[in-house]
Symmetry: C2
């Protein structure tokens, strides 16, 4: 049980995710190997300022079921954290965890040019 | 046309591959997201000393058609170079190209622990 009100707020509504130690390189690479998912992480790193962002912020022009699938793949690989707040899911990229486990990987995502595809 | 005998030898039998500029991050990540393919690159980086290695050197316990498929995925992403010499295909990991385009990526492959899967 969270010991402080702040910790309780931070973990409230967290969707299932691997711990830092449970992350697997092949799974993270697979999650990032799709251009739409790579674009989500790229946009977050570029423009989100490390804040939680609702799914709508990412402006993904795909059916809801498709979007939900892609978010799930990212979350289950450990790339993003999702928190359910009412009807909204709020997302962050797990930068500290990824930098600790796979140093340099997020730099490659930052340097990625979506328009060169 | 190669201008020297040495250049002719180096390019003889090269199978189709992207140029360094044509490599795409998402395609490279996809190629590396399979444990068998990640294992091929990991083994090469650890034990091949930068030399050409025949497919048999990698001791992959899968049907030939499966092995051929995985090599093709790696080659078409630009991760490996394959040269046909008689009946044999000789393979190298394109370390210089990958380091230039995606710095740090091969360090993650080197650090990967296949037994933790």
């Amino acid at each position: 049980m969270p010991e402080t009100a702040e910790a309780a707020t931070e973990t409230a509504g967290l969707l299932p995710e691997p711990t830092r130690a449970e992350m697997r390189l092949e799974q993270v690479l697979s999650a990032l190997s799709d251009p739409l998912r790579l674009g989500i992480v790229h946009a977050y790193l570029r423009d989100a300022g490390g804040e939680e962002r609702a799914c709508g912020w990412f402006k993904i022009d795909r059916p809801k079921s498709t979007r939900t699938h892609h978010w799930k793949v990212l979350r289950e690989a450990g790339v993003v954290r999702q928190r359910q707040v009412g009807l909204e899911r709020r997302n962050t990229v797990r930068e500290a965890d990824l930098d600790a486990r796979f140093p340099g990987l997020l730099d490659l995502v930052r340097a990625w040019d979506p328009d060169a595809a």
